[in-house]
Symmetry: C2
Subunit: 195 residues, 2 copies
């Protein structure tokens, strides 16, 4: 894939989009196990043989499906204050995790990389990359003294990411800036109380 800029032939474009959309739907509904080529073919209206003309095998289709469910988390600008940068990243994360199909796929996004079979064609730490802007913001806050300089970065990451993910998994939870800012405030208040 990734030559998606100039998809000269509209037939190709149409096939790839239909297949990926159906594949994502199955992944969201039932995890990687639910993504079968036959089912995707039938649901998308694209012939099985055509699918295999675009993806070498099921593993490659699954890899693209997985990527399509990942949220996009922009890195914050260096020009803003460390507090603002952290707050913005948390807002982006909350927003990204709240968007479909990411939100419904979240449990599968976490579990799939641990499956030795289904993770075959998956880039190894693609999920970690999603959190790298957050980690950078945490480190910047620590070195600026906004939170204790001795802060364990990974621990802080677990704290923030865990809060966000659990909220996203709860379908009754509103994933908006209000929640994001509460996450940030509770985090900063707790950390700043540390001696």
């Amino acid at each position: 894939m990734s030559e998606s800029l100039v998809d000269v032939d509209p037939r190709v474009r149409r096939s790839r989009e239909a297949v990926l959309a159906a594949s994502v739907a199955f992944f969201v509904a039932g995890g990687p196990r639910a993504v079968t080529v036959d089912a995707v073919s039938e649901a998308s209206g694209v012939a099985k043989t055509t699918i295999y003309r675009h993806w070498r095998d099921r593993a490659h289709l699954l890899a693209d499906t997985y990527r399509a469910c990942l949220p996009v988390v922009p890195a914050p600008a260096d020009s803003v204050s460390p507090e603002t940068a952290l707050r913005d990243v948390v807002r982006s994360l909350v927003h990204g995790m709240g968007q479909e199909p990411t939100r419904s796929a979240l449990p599968h996004l976490i579990a799939t990389p641990l499956d030795p079979v289904e993770s075959a064609a998956l880039p190894p730490d693609v999920l970690d990359q999603t959190f790298s802007p957050l980690v950078a913001s945490i480190e910047r806050a620590a070195s600026a003294g906004v939170i204790p300089k001795r802060t364990d970065t990974m621990e802080a990451k677990h704290q923030l990411v865990g809060f966000i993910i659990m909220s996203a998994i709860d379908p009754t939870c509103a994933m908006n800036n209000s929640l994001a800012d509460r996450v940030t405030e509770l985090f900063l208040a707790g950390r700043q109380a540390q001696t």
Copy 2:
């Protein structure tokens, strides 16, 4: 199952234990999809036909396997202070989540109930029950004024459970009382700073 108190015949006991152990191992390694009757039969040394004499079908075996991976979280005594009760529950949760096979199975424990196929024979909210002692402790802390009385219980649950689960998923993280108490302290400090 659950007549496990008096397993008169040791042959029955041996078969069930061997099958369940193998099944748990596969579940941990690859999620529900990896739990196949043929594989469990071969790995456990128990004949496939014998497995079907003890479990009606694969779904029932999977349900028992799932339950076997859940941690046991005792409810705290009413006699201790709300702070102590909360700290004890968090300690129990951290300890339980850190124990194998729970720790390695965690992502699958979260994802499996969302799979419409694999969750067929699963009790619907068995995972929520694991956190009910925590929820009770949060509510008690709120009504006692240890944390603001207007605390959103579910939000606080997401905050604590998320922190613990993300820590458990990180294999480099030590799941001990030190971590548990840090989780509790960071939680209380953040909440108590709220007006």
